[in-house]
Symmetry: C2
Subunit: 410 residues, 2 copies
């Protein structure tokens, strides 16, 4: 419990306001937030404006259009006021009614979060669990779709960051089309770092977060909703438990004629608008290639040191690379030394993988060659102190060598 | 439906990123967002940092302590990732289980939002409705408390902005203490503009928003939770429907030992930290007086013009003043002329009062004498053009006269 002193004895009148503390400038190579380009930070400095001001409505339209382009979606694209988890809950709670059957493909920590959320909502949840660290075996989905009648929705996570799996979506999407169920996709980690064909795959609801590959500060969840999903929500027999995350009500603000729902977080909207412009200017394919190139360099360096990625090569997520911590190496010591002496953040393992893996993120503004080399340099210095010998220079050369054919990386 | 063009034809490579549009600098006298001091905007520019970084954990502790001082609460004080409505839903969905009885004192638009949220959660909702524009008759609460057994919670709104009522909390708090029920208070509009004795009144859950009297951008909901309420949440028989707004899980991040729940919106946290420092530096009592003084000046000016506030003098909210629109005066014309020609935003009526009132907010950084006079000047110019004659100079002098005994106003 913190000591509470009431105002009066808080500051005497001669004391000046403390300056905003200068937080250390970290190289953020964890699971997010990623680093934010100063141009995007600066966009937040726009003067405050009303959430129904006609000038701000133009901004809302623009953000919706930019999101539609970035998702390659002709549905309703919006930024929810909350983090990626709010996007997950908005989809589940708006689409599912109690008793509705949802099949959740479950192959990692965040898939299990989805299972828990859907269970809390009283849905008939069918978790299709498969081994962590491997892609989801789609044939089991077909079996379940045949077995259950009236499956309302199937959900999957595009990039499961606990294990570093990029789940292919084509086969899952083909099955949901064949069996005429809705498809919800978690793109929290992949959106902005991997091309996603939302219309092309027939995804009905997709959501993400702003602080990973989008390159903006955390606090918003960009989503896109198909007309089919919106119609389904609008024909519910009972209202969703959540008013705050009711996608029907939120759509009524994002589309004309606009109805007040909650006060839009103006500053974050301005940041996301700028980050989407930068994303589309770079190009979705080029951005995807940048993420892949830097991940490949990282993995070459790590493997040269004898560190093994969790995910098999053909299913590796470019955005986050979980690697096994070598036996005998002290997880906390390595991460805290990287943070305190090299100003580099990497992520720790989640759930069953806690203490067993490090998770190295290269997302958005953090996905740069200089960061790959800085991390290999740091690990190369620290690991030998924990009794795990590596050759730092060889590892850095191995990483650099992957770039030779890729002159255009940033 | 917006036209969607995919990247490739979005921008050609010679086209530079458009600059962040310079939005007009509005004088924001609506229901919020209020204006934001540049010092607070600048606090958002701190470099991004991880949500479990030890340096950021110090910031989280500091914000929690500052919030406790501002709420005068020894409970658990936190900033939720969402707007004020998320604070409302977090309290209702975390505290109430399906079938639990909640008495909601209902005397305006936002009280009805609370009723709807609680009904969606399957609670046994007892809405105690009283006339809009008058304070809530507390004797009816005592009748209901006697009549119902096992009332889990009573809720009330401190400042109902649809009508401009400041609801006295003393008698309601005395009743909830006597009948041993939890008390939830909505301080969305009042927090930071009126002194609230959370411990003193025995409030179990109080929530607000950052964009009104706190003076920060929108996107967070500062809350404080008593130990009694936290224990009640922790002894639920079934988990809340909402995972995202589960106050138990969120508390586990804000208090040691910390557990990951969702990614904290770092930039908004930095802004709120600075705004709380400024609030406590000004002093809660001084800040309350400033809001009252400027509201009194506004009302003197409006009444001099023949405009009538909705709320009776002894129960008027300082933060927002709804006034009746004179018969024959065009609501939209006046508000849009104020916006387009004077850069002043005022709010429109909500619910039953739509088209019947204007809502004039003087909150946080917007609560300034210069803004009161700017608004009276604008209305004084515009109203005669709609056939409602007023004497602008007399009205402005009436407003100024209220300050003569108040040399310290800002």
């Amino acid at each position: 419990m913190q000591e509470i002193t009431y105002i009066g004895d808080y500051m005497d009148s001669n004391e000046s306001l403390r300056e905003t503390p200068i937080l250390p400038e970290r190289i953020l190579l964890g699971p997010g937030p990623s680093m934010v380009n100063p141009i995007i930070m600066e966009a937040m400095m726009t003067p405050m404006i009303g959430y129904l001001d006609p000038d701000f409505m133009d901004i809302i339209d623009e953000v919706s259009t930019l999101l539609g382009k970035a998702y390659r979606s002709s549905g309703t694209s919006m930024a929810l006021t909350g983090t990626g988890s709010s996007g997950m809950e908005a989809g589940l709670s708006s689409i599912l009614e109690p008793g509705d059957t949802v099949i959740i493909c479950a192959y990692g920590y965040f898939c299990e979060r989805m299972v828990e959320m859907a269970q809390r909502l009283g849905a008939n949840v069918v978790p299709l669990r498969s081994e962590w660290g491997k892609p989801f075996p789609e044939e089991s989905l077909e079996r379940e779709l045949k077995h259950h009648r009236n499956v309302k929705m199937v959900s999957a996570i595009h990039g499961e960051t606990s294990t570093g799996i990029e789940q292919p979506l084509n086969n899952i999407a083909a099955l949901t089309e064949e069996y005429e169920t809705l498809l919800m996709v978690d793109a929290v980690t992949t959106f902005g770092g991997t091309v996603i064909e939302t219309d092309g795959l027939g995804i009905d609801y997709i959501y993400s977060a702003t602080q990973k590959c989008v390159g903006a500060p955390p606090g918003l969840s960009p989503v896109s909703l198909s007309d089919r999903a919106l119609n389904s929500i609008r024909s519910r027999t009972q209202k969703p438990f959540s008013w705050y995350l009711d996608l029907d009500l939120i759509t009524n603000y994002w589309k004309k004629p606009r109805a007040y729902h909650h006060t839009t977080p103006v500053s974050l909207i301005m940041a996301v608008r700028k980050s989407l412009e930068m994303m589309l200017k770079e190009g979705l394919e080029a951005r995807s290639k940048r993420h892949k190139d830097n991940a490949n360099a990282l993995i070459a360096g790590l493997e040269s040191m004898g560190l093994k990625p969790v995910a098999p090569p053909e299913h590796r997520l470019a955005q986050i690379t979980p690697v096994w911590i070598p036996e005998g190496v002290d997880d906390d010591f390595v991460r805290s030394t990287l943070l305190n002496e090299y100003n580099i953040e990497i992520g720790k393992g989640l759930g069953d993988l806690s203490g067993k893996v490090w998770r190295i993120g290269l997302m958005g503004e953090s996905s740069k060659k200089a960061h790959v080399l800085a991390l290999l340099n740091g690990l190369g210095d620290i690991l030998p102190n924990t009794g795990f010998n590596v050759n730092k220079n060889t590892a850095m050369r191995a990483a650099e060598a992957t770039y030779t054919a890729v002159p255009s990386n940033i």
